[in-house]
Amino acid sequence: EPEVTQTPSHQVTQMGQEVILRCVPISNHLYFYWYRQILGQKVEFLVSFYNNEISEKSEIFDDQFSVERPDGSNFTLKIRSTKLEDSAMYFCASNYSPGLAGTDTQYFGPGTRLTVL
């Protein structure tokens, strides 16, 4: 069964450094998402991406964050200058179409645990 993959599984970085989290969505999916889960808190939406542009973003997704689909398979989240409070599990998700009942299920990757020191 197709699945969403994410690399790396764990990333440790120093405060102020740039990090890129990588995701490979399911191949025929059209919508891509990033969520994060700070330890002990709920999963929060960051951004959705369709047709090579951001379609929706949350208040969390400020200028420090950017997303890109550099080729036909990868979907990346970049944090330009990491802060301590960026430490979290970051989940990538994808689906075919959010508006259609049969294809709106979001499939999640295993997550990347980001630790900012």
Partner: protein
């Protein structure tokens, strides 16, 4: 706007006894509702989904959930808990064709031998 409330942050059951994890939603539209499970250090796995067909939805690993519009609920149940069911469970809603989904705060299920 949509919101999801999971009424219990922790539920503890004995192995072999029934499981009930409660979820209520609030939405201006008819929602799609999902339950996901997250085992320790693992990703989010889809257990089941409701999308306005049958109100009783069967999922993987013996779980099922019933959509009750009058109560705005979508509780998750299982007749007999296994040790392997110990995990965190998330109720998730998507309504109005919004792209983002809304997560509940999660319920940690403990299964006692």
């Amino acid at each position: 706007a949509q919101s999801v409330t999971q009424l219990d942050s922790h539920v503890s059951v004995s192995e072999g006894t029934p499981v009930l994890l409660r979820c209520n939603y609030s939405s201006s539209y008819s929602p799609s509702l999902f339950w996901y499970v997250q085992h320790p250090n693992k990703g989010l796995q889809l257990l089941l989904k409701y999308t306005s067909a049958a109100t009783l939805v069967k999922g993987i690993n013996g779980f099922e959930a019933e959509f009750k519009k009058s109560e705005t609920s979508f509780h998750l149940t299982k007749p007999s808990a296994h040790m392997s069911d110990a995990a965190e469970y998330f109720c998730v809603a998507n309504s109005g064709g919004y792209q983002k989904v809304t997560f509940g705060t999660g319920t940690k299920l403990q299964v006692i031998p």
